[in-house]
Symmetry: none
Subunit: 205 residues, 4 copies
DNA sequence: GAATAAACGAGACGGTACGTCGCGTCTTAAG
DNA sequence: CTTAAGACGCGACGTACCGTCTCGTTTATTC
C-alpha cells in the first residue's frame, strides 16, 4: 500500500559489492519485528541482529528508522489494478476490497499512523505520499469511472478526488481509527451509497 | 475532538490537595509545545518548565508522555451538537464543518496519529476512542437522521455507522492523510453525495 | 557511641504539646530500618510509616536525614566509665572491650562512615564529633592513666591523644575498615603492645 | 591508597575498540570534581561533561556512581615500598609517612568513608578491600619486620596484623575520624610506642 | 467555654540525580 | 568498499528521594 521508497544509491562500482541478499534479510527482519512488537518497539539493533547483519549495513540502505519502517510497511506497491468487472458498482467493490486488504495488513497498520504523523512536519513525506500512494489510487478510480462513462453508466466523469476521499476515507477511518472490521456487507453498503453519490455528483437525480 | 482522558484519581480526601491550577498549567504547556514543536519533540522536562512545575507533578497526573499528549490533544470534548438547520443536507454540512474544524486543530493533528498508532496495541485505547469520540459523533448523526425522518425527508433511519464512516472518513482522510484542505465547495460535494447515498441506503431511487 | 545530637527546640509553651511517644517511635523505626536495609536505603517516608507517623513529625525533630541517622546510630552516649580493675593493663583492656562493643553495634557501623564522610565538609560535625565522642574517650583514658600514676605503674601521664589514637584507631580500623572481628586474644595483644608503648612514651626502658 | 578497581571487561576484540583516552579523561574528571565539590555533589552528568564525553561512556566502564568514585579515589595503588633505612624504627616511620600522605589526599578522604560504608553490605567490596589494600600494607610491614629480624633487632617476626592495626589504625583514625593533622613529632611518638610494643609482642621486656 | 496556637496525618510540591535506552555516527579489523 | 561488531555523543525517559508546603483535624493552654 504505502510506498515511500528507499533512498540510498546502489553503490555499484569499485570495492566490495553490496551483499544483495542482505536487502531481503533486512526488510524481512523489519517486517517480522513490526508485526511482532510494533513500530515503537522495533529497534535498529534488534533488526540488525534478526537480519544477521549490523546496523551499519542497514544505515547504508535506509537513512533512518522511519525510512526502514516505511519500506517494511509497503507490500509491494505493485500496481495491480482490478480488472473490469462490467459495472461501476462491482468495479468499486473490487477496488474497495483491495484497499481494505492493503490497510488490514499488520505492517501497514503499524506504519501508516507514523507516516501520517510526519505528514504535518515534512512536506517531502506529504508529497511522496500524495505522489505515489494517493496518485495511484486516484488513477485507478479514474480508470473505473472512465469505463463507466464508456459503458454509458455515467454521462461524464465526476470529481475523482471526491470519490477517492469517500471510498478511501471510509475504509481508512473504519479500519485504522475506529478499529472495526469491514465485512463484505458493510463494504457493499458503502459502495452502494457511493454509487448513488456519484450519480448525484454528475447531476443525475 | 479526541478525548482519551486523564487517568489519575482525583486525590480528594486527606493530605495536601492537588493544586488544581497546575492541571491547567500543565495542559496548557503541553498544548503550546505540541503546537510549537510537535509531538516527538515535546519533552516532559520542557513541559514541566513551561508549566512552572516539576516532572513529578506531571507524572502524578498522567502515567506517561502518551497520556499527557492525549489529554493535551483534546479540545474540550464538549458536546456542542449543531442546531437544527431545517434540512438533512444542511445539518450534515454543519456537522461536517465542525468535524473539519476539530480535525484541523494543530494539537489534534499532532496527537491523532499517535492515538491511532496505539489503537492496534491497546484495547483500552481502542475502547476509549470508540466509547467517547466515535460514540459522540454517531449520536449526533443519529439525531440528524432522526430529525430528517420526522421531517419526512427520509422514510426510516439508515445505518448510522455507514453514514459516520463516509462523512468522518472522508474528512479525516483528506485532512490527516492526504494533507489537503477541505474548502466549503468540496465539503458541499461530499455532503451532497452523502445525502444521495443515504437515500439509496434507505431504498429510495 | 556517637553522639551528634538532635537539634530542634522542645517546643514547650502554647499550642499542642509534642507527642513524646513519637520521639521513641521515630528513633526505634529509624534504628530498625538502619539495621535492616542500611543507611542509604533508609528513606524518610519509610521511617514515618514504620513509626506510624508522618514526615512532618520527623522533620519537626530532626532537620535532615543525616541528623536522624546520627541520633539513631547513637547508643545512649551515656558515660559509663569502666571501673578501676587494679592495673593499667586491665583498665585498658576493659575500655577496649567497651569500645569494641560500641563499634560493633549494627547501627553504629551503618552511621559512622557517613559521619566521617561529613567531617571533611562540615566543621560543625567535626567539632561535635571531637567535642562529644573523642573528648569522652580521652577523658576515660586520662582517668585510667592517672590511676596508673597513683598506683606507681607510671611515673607521669603520657600524651593522652597518642594513647587514644592507638587504641581507638586499632579497633576502629579493624572493625570498620578491615571488617575483621577482634577477639579477646587479639585485643590482649593490642593492649599489651600499647602498655609497652606507654612505658616507652614516658621514658622507661 | 584505596584500590577497589574498575569492573568492566576490556572489550578488546572485534568492534570499535574502547577509546582508551576516555578512560583517563573520565577518571580525571571524576577526581577533579571529587576534590572540588565532594562525593555527594559529584554527578554523573557533570563528570561526563567535564570529561568531554557522555554518561553512556561512563556507564560502559563503571556500573554505578559508586564504582566510578571508588576508582577515582585510588591514587595509583602503585606499590612503592619504602626503601630500607637501616633500622626498624625508621622503616616504620617512613611507611607511616607514606600512609599518612595517601590518607590525606583529598580524593581518598572523600571516597574512603563511602567504601567502608559498603563494606558491611557487600562482601565483594570487603574482600577487594582486604585483598588489595590491606594485603599490600601487610606485605610491606612484613618486609620491614623481616629486615629487622635479619638485622637482629628482633628475634622473630611478630604478628603482622597487630602491627598493621596499630599503625594504620592510629593514622586512619586521626586523619579521617578525629580530623586532626599528624605532624612528624606525633608520628614519631606513635612509631616509638609501636616499636616498644613490637618488642613486647616478641617477648622482650 | 471559646479562642488561640501548635502538633499531627496525609500527601502534593519543586528540585535534582539516577540509571536505562534508543538513534544515528564513527572506528576498527577482516574480507 | 562492504561487512560485523560495537563504542560513541546525544538526549529523553520514568523513578526515587529529599526537604518543604498545605490542607483538615486534634489537643492543650489561655482568655
Amino acid at each position: 500500500m504505502l510506498y515511500i521508497g528507499t533512498v540510498s544509491a546502489t553503490g555499484q562500482g569499485i570495492g566490495r559489492p553490496r551483499d544483495r541478499s542482505l536487502d531481503g534479510a533486512i526488510l524481512a527482519a523489519a517486517r517480522e519485528l513490526l508485526a511482532e512488537v510494533g513500530y515503537a518497539q522495533v529497534t535498529m539493533d534488534a533488526t540488525a541482529v534478526r537480519a544477521g547483519t549490523s546496523k551499519a549495513a542497514i544505515y547504508r540502505r535506509y537513512k533512518s528508522k522511519a525510512e526502514l519502517m516505511f519500506a517494511a510497511g509497503v507490500h509491494g506497491a505493485e500496481a495491480n489494478p482490478p480488472a473490469d468487472t462490467g459495472s461501476l458498482r462491482d468495479d468499486l467493490f473490487a477496488l474497495g476490497a483491495r484497499i481494505r486488504a492493503d490497510m488490514s495488513a499488520p505492517t501497514a497498520r503499524e506504519v501508516a499512523p507514523h507516516v501520517i504523523a510526519e505528514v504535518v512536519h515534512s512536506p517531502e513525506v506529504s508529497q511522496r505520499l500524495r505522489g505515489v500512494f494517493v496518485a495511484t489510487e486516484r488513477r485507478e478510480i479514474e480508470a473505473i469511472l472512465s469505463r463507466a462513462v464508456l459503458r454509458r453508466e455515467l454521462p461524464v466523469v465526476p470529481t475523482v478526488a471526491t470519490v477517492h476521499r469517500m471510498l478511501g476515507g471510509a475504509l481508512f477511518f473504519t479500519i485504522m481509527v475506529i478499529d472495526e472490521r469491514v465485512d463484505d456487507a458493510e463494504l457493499a453498503r458503502v459502495v452502494d451509497a457511493l454509487v448513488a453519490g456519484i450519480h448525484a455528483l454528475v447531476g443525475q437525480t
